[in-house]
């Protein structure tokens, strides 16, 4: 295993690797399980030094999650222009009352209670991203895009005609 890769893993463990290198390293770990194992050992040693407990991660841990996620639906949210850290809900007191009425276990299942079925031939986004294509269909299909809080689809609402003014 190249030494510089191991050194990068050591830096990554300490949050001292820049964003681009960290991303590359994670991608390498994704395709090389032995790298992932090594990273897990570094983390386990770090943890063991503080707690006297050595936690070994099963070698198939991330692979099992990967398999499970494959069965899940894609997230198909509109592209956000900025990643807002200071996002505030402007709910009136009535919305609090609504939550206390509505959020009752008898009323609703988890988000993906409906069965999800595997999509064949998954692909990475092409010039017009797949998720935008499906979102365009959803938006044309029914009005729920306006009432589900994901209506911030301005980049998605590609202009098909301008109003004459």
């Amino acid at each position: 295993m190249p030494e510089d890769l191991n050194q990068k893993m050591s830096q990554f463990l300490d949050n001292e690797l820049d964003h681009a290198d960290a991303l590359l390293l994670l991608q390498k770990m994704q395709s090389q399980p032995e790298l992932q194992d090594k990273m897990n050992r570094y983390e386990a040693v770090s943890h063991a030094l503080k707690t006297d407990v050595f936690l070994a991660v099963r070698s198939d841990f991330s692979a099992k999650i990967h398999q499970h996620i494959r069965q899940e639906a894609f997230h198909l949210l509109p592209q956000r222009k900025s990643y807002k850290r200071t996002y505030k809900l402007m709910a009136l007191a009535a919305s609090v009352a609504i939550v206390t009425v509505i959020v009752d276990r008898s009323l609703e299942p988890p988000f993906n209670a409906a069965s999800t079925l595997q999509v064949a031939n998954t692909q990475l986004p092409e010039p017009y991203p797949l998720n935008k294509r499906i979102n365009d269909y959803l938006q044309a299909h029914n009005n729920s895009v306006y009432t589900n809080g994901e209506a911030d689809f301005q980049p998605l609402g590609r202009v098909t005609a301008y109003s004459d003014k």
Partner: protein, 200 residues
């Protein structure tokens, strides 16, 4: 838990956005990044490394499903940790229900973060192996050259950044980087054979 640098948060933001746009592979990278930390966190509650991994897997799956709702109000890792804690607590409740002799109070679950963690290692073999691993690690550290030992102690026990260690040891940051990496390598060389032969 060490503080997350801006680099780390930026990486998380990038990956989360990609997942939210349909890139499932980006979620795999988040799993790789946080798998050990989440297992550590969950193990503080469930006190069993094997069960901790099951609960940690469930945490990631829940996080994937809920990622559509994640709006960046908090850092991703904070949000993920909340899911892990809730999943662990729910697991404790269901475990308590399954075993009438296992009394657990959920309020206690929060208060016992620092309690001894070996409760789940209930087989003699597991206890022995764990002890052997810990001894190996400590011996490996004792046998390190002093500058490497100092660097790893300052990093792991004091949580100092590379810059701070460089100041403390009066050396360049690059030297700190190298010393830490070589210390970890030295420990790993001694540890790996034990893990390959031991009970994983």
């Amino acid at each position: 838990m060490s503080s997350h640098s801006r680099n780390s948060e930026q990486l998380d933001e990038n990956l989360v956005l990609r997942v939210q746009q349909g890139d499932k592979a980006a979620f795999d990278l988040l799993v790789i990044k946080y798998q050990h930390k989440i297992i550590q966190l969950v193990n503080r509650y469930v006190k069993d490394p094997s069960e901790a991994q099951d609960v940690a897997q469930e945490t990631f799956i829940k996080a994937y499903r809920a990622l559509g709702d994640f709006r960046g109000d908090s850092a991703f890792y904070t949000w993920l940790y909340r899911i892990a804690i809730n999943t662990a607590k729910n697991y404790l409740v269901s475990r308590a229900r399954r075993s009438s002799n296992y009394q657990v109070d959920i309020q206690d679950a929060e208060a016992i973060e620092n309690a001894p963690q070996l409760q789940g290692m209930d087989t003699p073999e597991r206890l022995l192996l764990n002890q052997e691993i810990i001894d190996t690690i400590k011996t490996a550290i004792d046998q390190l050259p002093e500058e490497m030992r100092t660097a790893i102690m300052l990093r792991e026990f004091e949580g100092m950044s590379y810059e701070e260690i460089a100041v403390a040891m009066d050396c360049p940051v690059g030297t700190v980087r190298s010393r830490l990496f070589r210390a970890r390598e030295a420990i790993d060389i001694k540890l790996n054979p034990l893990l390959e032969h031991g009970d994983s």
